[in-house]
Point group: C2
Chain length 291, copies 2
């Protein structure tokens, strides 16, 4: 078994991005600038946004964190986004999800300029992905593809099973794994809560991508020997074994699965850091496109 060390690869990518930033500065361009909007005080969202801001600093990006009250009106949030869309000083914009119930997330996502949508959630960018056109790929699926590429894992003609059909992971990664490319060219099965005999399907996977949100759902006895496992799940549970009182769990029971797998991502330190690295890469791309 070989660990797919997302933390290490993400650091490599950040290092590469930092070099590109220096090149940009040497050429007289300004630093790439990511703006993040955080509405309210959701604990997990705070953690994610802070990690993104910190990552910006590490690679030499400017970043602006815009904190807005959870009672903000939808129209005021739309106005704020419109301001940033029109601000030439800002290259990328993310709005941390989830948003409060009175705000329509889809409307917000669609209001971000596709040219600054470095999360890759805008319909236009997702559609370009389906058409295999240059675009901002959604960050988590892009991170998975990058991880497979960096570890030179053969995907061509392999059987890939995706568990979960979310708009931000399951659906797009199933398209990316099937499309004509490298990584890509997999035969892909997408499974979900309505799938029958899911165990039989999982058992056949050469590459298993799990984005379900059920802690430790995948057990070793469900796997084909030699499978490559990408664990996108992240569930926080109370624990008396950690200092913080919390422990993170993936969708994969790492201990029972590790010896069945050729490659496996840990949680934490697998897909999570890759997602942030790809967000940075998209922001750099937003700048490079303008050159």
């Amino acid at each position: 078994m070989k660990l797919l060390d997302g933390k290490k690869v993400a650091n490599d990518i950040k290092h590469e991005i930092a070099i590109e930033v220096k090149k940009l500065l040497d050429l007289g361009f300004k630093k790439p600038h990511l703006a993040a909007i955080l509405v309210g005080n959701n604990g997990a969202s705070e953690t994610y946004v802070n990690a993104k801001v910190k990552a910006c600093k590490k690679v030499g990006f400017d970043s602006t964190l815009i904190r807005l009250s959870s009672s903000i009106e939808e129209n005021d949030l739309l106005d704020k986004i419109s301001d940033i869309n029109n601000d030439n000083n800002i290259d990328g914009l993310i709005v941390q999800l989830p948003l409060p119930d009175h705000i329509n997330e889809k409307k917000i996502t669609e209001s971000i300029s596709p040219n600054k949508d470095v999360d890759g959630f805008h319909p236009e960018n997702l559609g370009k992905m389906v058409l295999n056109l240059p675009t901002f790929l959604p960050a988590t699926p892009a991170g998975i593809i990058e991880l497979l590429a960096r570890y030179k894992i053969t995907t061509d003609s392999k059987y890939c099973v995706v568990v979960g059909r979310s708009h931000i992971v399951g659906s797009p990664i199933s398209i990316l794994m099937a499309r004509n490319g490298n990584p890509g060219n997999c035969t892909v099965t997408i499974t979900h809560s309505r799938t029958k005999e899911i165990h039989n399907i999982i058992k056949q996977a050469d590459i298993l991508i799990v984005a379900l949100g059920k802690a430790e759902f995948i057990k070793g006895n469900m796997l084909k020997k030699g499978v490559t496992i990408i664990d996108v799940g992240i569930t926080r549970k109370k624990s008396d074994k950690t200092k913080s009182g919390w422990k993170l769990f993936g969708d994969v029971d790492f201990e029972s699965c590790r010896d069945r797998a050729s490659f496996i991502t840990p949680v934490p330190g697998g897909v999570g850091p890759m997602t942030i690295a790809m967000l940075l890469k998209n922001t750099l791309l937003a700048v490079q496109r303008k050159k």
Copy 2:
């Protein structure tokens, strides 16, 4: 075996659309208006476009067929599209593919206003499809979904195999069959030229959607008894058995497959007419959205 009679269902849909058009006229609205651009003199393209124009007439739409020389410059074509985008009198616009080699099809597709893109090929509309947002669904996949719905074929928890990963059929139909909806909720496997052991996969399908473009590729002995077959393929071959000297073939060998299937689409008269019906439905939708 029951035939999925796309011709009949398409006629039903056209009848329903005609009633809606009358309602619009009674309310003082103008007729829906579809513009079609045909570049050059490709025989098959002529046939398709003429069928679309004829269908418009049948349901009471206005239509405009714009014939352009195959030597037209890309920029001139873009200008023409821009004119139509800005013409309030035209509700829907299609550009018949393929285009001559010196014209970039992707650029043309992206230049059509998403609000008039009744073929559903624009990235923004495809992305909305991935996100399950209201949109113009691409006409062929939408026709397949409609056919399954009208024949009340159960899709929930069924195993659907899609053969072919084209941007206009295979990829989008795999998303539509997997998404949370009815029809939908299938476990979906997308297969293509790089797929190994494709026969084993096809043999397990409850619903088989074939969009490969290889005449009579699917034979009866490849099927699970009771499968529902949707044949999207259409290949024209010379024949001494028809008056015209040509015969149309699907991707499915109808004779050997019919007795293995619960439901099967014929070629011609299956998915083809449904595609045109959905194009009309999208055009009506474009009008209704403006109301």
